[in-house]
Amino acid sequence: MPPVDQTAIEQVFRAEYGRAVAVLVRVFGDIDLAEESVQDAFTVAAARWPSDGMPPSPAGWIITTARNRAIDRLRREASRNDRHAQARLLHGYDEPPEEVVAVRDDRLRLIFTCCHPALNQRAQVALTLRLLGGLETPEIARAFLVPEATMSKRLTRTKAKIAAAGIPYRVPPAHLLPERTAGVLAVLYLMFNEGYSASAGERLIRAPLCVEAIRLARLLRALMRDEPEASGLLALMLLQHSRRGARLDESGDIVTLEEQDRSRWDSDEIDEATALLRSALRRRAPGPYQLQAAIAACHAEAPNPAATDWPQIAALYELMLQLTPSPVVRLNRAVAVAMAEGLDAGLALVDELAEQGTLTDYHLLEATRADLHRRRGDRTAAIAAYHRALDAARTEPERRFILRRLAEQNDRR
């Protein structure tokens, strides 16, 4: 066998960690034991593969080695009084060597376990990154801008809860599957957004979250071929990701969709996304992720802002309202109506929403209003709204963006 370099080995580890852990969790019913055993197997591999060469099936090798290590561990720990260790030991012996086919279900089970609703969402995201993404604790901590000790405690506590509270290791039964799937999709999308919305200064350390989220979304889609929302989520992520090179300027300031240099959009990702979306939509089971992806696709397909199919976008928002009647979706629809039918029509809808009081805490309400006034040429109203938007701004880049707009309005005399 040809000699193997360190990078190739590390790539295999990252790619196979989730799969190996998933199988071991099924066999032994213990996440800590599974992780430790897989890590033991990696240690052996790191020592042997550089000289022996990579085995024909690295995944199989890792799983078999890890299983043997787990059995060794249990033998050492099992005492006459520890019935649990003994039971796990027996179970581990009984399970036959793994077939690759069985492994697909194991990773799906593991994703649902990590995203169980009895765990808070931050815990869900962290554990998914750890067990399925194979990220090390320091990497995850860095990506979420928290100290390593904090993340370590979070992961330990989460795994302890799964064990103590008896969170089952399984794909949920049919009657729970829709809500649980929605939970998994939400976790992956949250993960993506944490990376995608990172400020310029944070981008380098948080961007891996986007890559990981896309990778896990691909995995989920492969494991849930009957679920079009999994394709919808992946398409949405790819479409947003395609714009990453254009959404911030050199100073790290926000560049709006309208102002972005579309030649800097990743056309391969756009093509892949639109193909995914088309096949998903053909199943005639639209959901929020498919619809959001369809809206993003409208933008992606327009060679320039003026060519944007705003009536289509407005129609898609109307469909979304039937599924998720939220004030924020109504606001976004109002903007689409403004662009499709006329600014006054859109503004009337926004004012109506503001009056209903459901959006008072939404930081983008005033910014949206200000933008519509800006387009109408109503300087006074725009400036007033921008000042209110400034009060509501949550991040430094947002503030700078609003100040820039204010400066533009003030320059127009």
Binding site: R80, N81, D82, R83, H84, H116, A118, A164, A165, G166, I167, P168, P172, L176
Partner: protein, 119 residues
């Protein structure tokens, strides 16, 4: 099977206790739920508690066993009653807890019992 404690939490916000007419539907719903739990073989024990004013706390202090009148903590909430159930896993326990919280119209906390490792 694992065992879980489902405890009913009542908020002490100074509001007067509900009148008997309001309590009756709760008793009926809870009684119906209890029958369901028993029929499913999930029943271990359950009961409603008298209010915290009827409580007594016993503790050791400076080597002595002391007794005080009243609840352990004058808190913002107290336990009104509880179920102990048997369930295969947390999902099964949560399914019972969903019915429990609907029946008694109060939040229900689900906590797993530690398992005994016998010889």
């Amino acid at each position: 099977m694992k065992q879980y404690l489902l405890s009913v939490h009542l908020v002490d916000d100074g509001a007067p206790p509900p009148p008997p007419e309001a309590a009756q539907p709760v008793y009926e719903r809870v009684a119906a739920l209890n029958s369901e739990i028993q029929a499913a073989g999930a029943w271990v024990f359950a009961g409603g508690l008298h209010p915290p004013t009827t409580a007594t706390v016993v503790r050791v202090q400076d080597g002595e066993v002391l007794m005080t009148d009243g609840p352990f903590a004058e808190g913002k909430e107290h336990i009104g009653g509880f179920w102990v159930i048997k369930a295969d896993d947390l999902d099964a326990a949560l399914a019972w807890a969903a019915k429990a919280t609907e029946a008694c119209a109060s939040p229900v906390e689900v906590r797993p019992f530690q398992e005994e490792t016998e010889d």
